[in-house]
Every structure is written in C-alpha cells, then in structure tokens.
Amino acid sequence: MTDPTQAERLVQSIIADFPDNDPKKRPIHTIGIGVKGTFEPSEVAPDYCIAEHFQPRPKDDPVKVTVRFSNGSGSPKQHDGWNDVRGMATRFHLANDGATDLIAMTLGGFFVRSVDEFFDFTNSAHQTPVKPESALCKIIDALSLKVPLPDPPPGQTQSGNAGTLDYANKHRFAQLAIFQAGIIGAPVSYVRAVYHAVHTFFVVGPDGLRRPVRFSWKPVAGVQTTDPTKAPVDDYLQGELRKRLEKWPARMMLMMMIGEAGDVLEDPTVPWPAHRVRVVMGTLSLEEVAADQVADGEKLSFNPWRLVRGIEPSSDPLLKARRDAYEVSRTRRGVTQCPFLPE
C-alpha cells in the first residue's frame, strides 16, 4: 500500500493546476461521457489469460461494459478542440456483480517514473499566464529551425506549457511524453483515437505462464484528429458520439503487446519496441450513450487496480500510487467503492 497522505498530496497537486475544479467532480478528466457496450474476446485470448472476460461466451451473452471517454483537463469548462490527452476508462461487468477496469489514455507514456518525480513535475508545470508568441519570436524560432510555440486557443489565459517544457529540457526521460503531448491534437471523435493503458500488467495463462503485457485500444474506424490550422471547437465530441452510436455501434480492438525478458516493466516513460508480439484480445462494441450519465459516468469510480484473477499489476511505482490517488478522488467525490481483489 502507498502512503495515504501521499495519495492526498497527489490529488491536491493535480487540483492545484485547475483552480476552477469542482470538488464533487474528478480532479482531472473532468469532462466526460458514459457509454454502454459489450466486449467479445478473440479466439486466442483464453490461450493467454484466464481472466473471466477473456473466456469464450455464448454470442447472446457477451460481457457488458461501461466506458467513460473524457478530456484530460481538470477544468469543468469544456474545450473539446484543444490540444489535450483523452481518456478511455472501461469497466467490464463480470459474474456475481464482479468487475474489472482498464484505464487508458491517448498519450503513449507518462512524463515521470516515480511519485517524487511527479511532484517535481507538477511543481514545474504549474499554470502561468500565457499569450501568443510575438511575431519577432516566431521569426527567430523559424530561423533557429525550432518548433514554434503554438498560439493559445481563444479563451486560454493560463497554461502549464512553459513549465512543462522546462521540465522536459532538464529531464530526458520526460521528453518523449512531453513532446507527444505537445502535438497530440484533438480527435474528431472519441472513437477515432488509440488509447494506451501505459503501465505493464501481468496476465496469467491457462498453463500458469505469467506474461508481462501492455494493453491498448485500437479504433476500427481508424485514427483521425481535427485540422490544427482551424479554430478549435469547444463542444462537439459528445454530440458526435451520440449521433454516431444512433446509427451504428463503434468498435475498438483490444491489443495486448507481450514484453520480453529485459523489457522495462516499471517505467511508464519508456515505450516497448514496436516489434514486440501483439495479440488481439477482443473487440469492444460501443452501442449507446448511457441514459443515466450520473450513474454510468460521473458516479462511476474506476481504478487501475480493480483487477480479476488472471491479471496482476506490475511493481510500477506510479501504478501503485494511482490506486490510492483514485481512492482519494473517489472519496472526495462521495462515490461508492467497488471491491478490490485481496492483495
């Protein structure tokens, strides 16, 4: 278990960046939408993992899921078109009121490797007033063959970008995630982005073999972001999803990359090589936007440690810290706890 005071401080350090955050709402990924659907495991999934949702089931009795898509910001103001990380938290509803969660985001890795580094990062990346770069600075950037600083979207007066960049310049391990976050853009739809679970987990096969894995969701509709040269639109993602699902379910493939001996297991800043074996574990069909957005979205409490027999967490210190930070967030919002597997 991690230190509960530390978990409190983690949540506080996140909230500090969003002074307008509502204590009854999530400290980050505040704006979101709950969706209902089903999950069908692939034919090969049971060969790799004994978890209940990866076992064969009758076609007419698939695993039911609830997914919450979200924007990364902790502000209650909706800015769908801003450059921002998006979240996809999935709850697989299992037998006897059991459940397991898979929490993923559009960024392929984290900025930091430990809780202490996280505090350093949030200290560095605090919000400061932001304004467009001057024409002279833009010219100097161009002459220096530098990435120009993006103009803040209309209405944005504060940003953590300057501190974030400063942190990256001082810490090479953070550079990949910070560079990617800077160019991540905005998806045209919540179901047209790839979502990475980032941390390493272990899956246990029917033969007892434990494999280190990393999960990601791949959209069947393909990946597409909005045109960054056009003015960002503040409110379109939820409406787009409603319209899309009224016509046809949206599908996402659950891919599992298998790590090899020597791959980094406890450091979510380091991507695994793209040429690791990847296995199709199943297909998610998103069928309708939940009618009750409070019960099936805002009041749901996800946790990356809500696991079932057959899936185990790695020793990644940030994964450990997230368990308790999510609990602090849940308590703060007054949301009902769901049981964890005994440690």
Binding site: D141, L149, R276
Partner: protein, 245 residues
C-alpha cells in the same frame, strides 16, 4: 459580357495571387535550403549516424530486421540501369537458391531509384552473419550487382574480401529513423558520447536535429518497420504454414 469580364478579372487576380504565393513559397524554400540549413550545419555540425538495425538485445529485436542498401550506379544512364536490371534477372535461380538455403529472409527486393540500385530486405538474426551467409550462397549475385556500383570494385569478389565486403554493405545501409520521436536526439547524444540524464537540452530544437541529420544522411529508412506479425522469424512462419524448414 459583364459576367465574362468579371470572370476574367477574378481569374487574372487569382493568377497574380497564385504567382505571388508560389514565388513567396519558393523564396522561403530557397532561403531555408540554401542559407539556413548550411548555416546551422556549419555552426552546429552533427555526426552522420550509422545505418542498419539497432543492437539486438532481446529475442524480438533479432527477428524481422531491416536492411536498406542504397548503392549509386557507376553508369548513370538508362544503359547503366538496364545493366543492373539484367544482373538481377540473370541470377533469379541463384537468388531463390540462396533464400531457400539461408532460411532467415522474410523478403528481399531489388529496386532502381534514379541512379541507385537498392536492396531492401527483412531478415532474422545478426547482420554480419546475414551477409556472410549470402556471400557463401550467392556471392556471385552480389558480385554482379556490386561491380556496377561506385566503389564496388574494391570489395569483389566478395568471397575473397568477406570483412571488407561486410563493412562496405554496412556503410550503404540506410540509417533507420525511429518512430519514437525523441530517439533522434538520443542517437545523436550517443554518437557524441553523451549518455547523461540531460539538464540543458532544448526539446524545441528536435526539428533542427532531424534536419541536420538528414543533411548529412540523405538516404534514411523511416519508422521501425510496420509489421503485421511482429516477433516471429521466417522459419516460425513457414513452420506454421507447414511449408518446411
């Protein structure tokens, strides 16, 4: 009449604007390519990064590796290109015999791009052993091709110049730009002997690093190779299909 006149005026204005835009775009490109890049290349020179695959540490790094040889032809005419095409066509049997015997190649392609004969292949195992195996099995094909390439006469016959030939091939193997954006910085730091944790970097200079590397390394492979069945060797794939090896 007025419609035609209006249309003509708009067309002329559009044409002027288009001409001006094209001129401005050309000017920018000229300034960047002929002044900015040479200026920064002089002020902050970079080392040409080595071609070929990264060191293989784990089993998955050792399968489906890429080789991208780009070899400038001596004879830069249609006749020179035809000679290269003929060298491949005349050796079809030797190439298939080599593929079947070596057993580590997923595919190999010969391509003529402008005045270069290129060999692109995906293979399993160590690069040196891969070339060594091919020298043994189809050294004559390599010799026929390399003879047509600038500087090739120094390393043939390959069977008598094995180590020189391997080094020569490695020199012509394109640098593989990783699809992990910041790897270009890490590769450059490693080439400069800087493996520190950082502290004084400027992440916004990543484009300049890429541009200056492409300035000294004009032929590169992009991405880490996009594989439909990563992690499996040619032998494993053939075994699964029940076609031998």
């Amino acid at each position: 009449m007025s419609r035609n006149g209006t249309s003509g005026g708009t067309s002329s204005a559009t044409s002027d604007k288009s001409l001006r835009d094209r001129f401005v775009a050309w000017l920018k490109m000229f300034f960047a390519a002929k002044i900015l890049v040479p200026f920064w290349a002089l002020l902050t020179p970079v080392k040409k990064l080595e071609g070929g695959p990264r060191p293989s540490v784990q089993p998955g790094d050792n399968v489906q590796r890429m080789m991208n040889l780009i070899m400038p032809l001596k004879d830069k005419s249609a006749i020179g290109r035809a000679k290269a095409a003929l060298a491949i066509a005349q050796n079809k049997d030797e190439i298939y015999a080599g593929l079947d015997n070596v057993g580590t190649v997923h595919f190999a392609r010969f391509v003529i791009v402008d005045d270069n004969i290129c060999m692109f292949s995906v293979y399993d195992g160590d690069f040196t052993n891969y070339i060594r195996d091919f020298i043994v099995t189809i050294g004559s094909v390599f010799d026929a091709v390399v003879e047509l390439v600038e500087g090739g006469e120094k390393v043939i016959p390959s069977a008598e110049n094995v180590e020189k030939f391997i080094d020569w091939v490695h020199d012509h193997d394109a640098y593989q730009v990783s699809d992990v954006a910041t790897d270009i910085l890490r590769d450059q730091e490693q080439a400069n002997g800087d493996a520190g944790p950082g502290g004084n970097d400027d992440l916004r200079l990543l484009p300049r690093s890429l541009i200056l590397q492409l300035n000294v390394n004009t032929n590169v492979s992009l991405g880490s190779g996009y594989r439909a069945y990563p992690g499996y060797s040619a032998a494993q794939v053939r075994q699964q299909f029940g076609v031998g090896w």
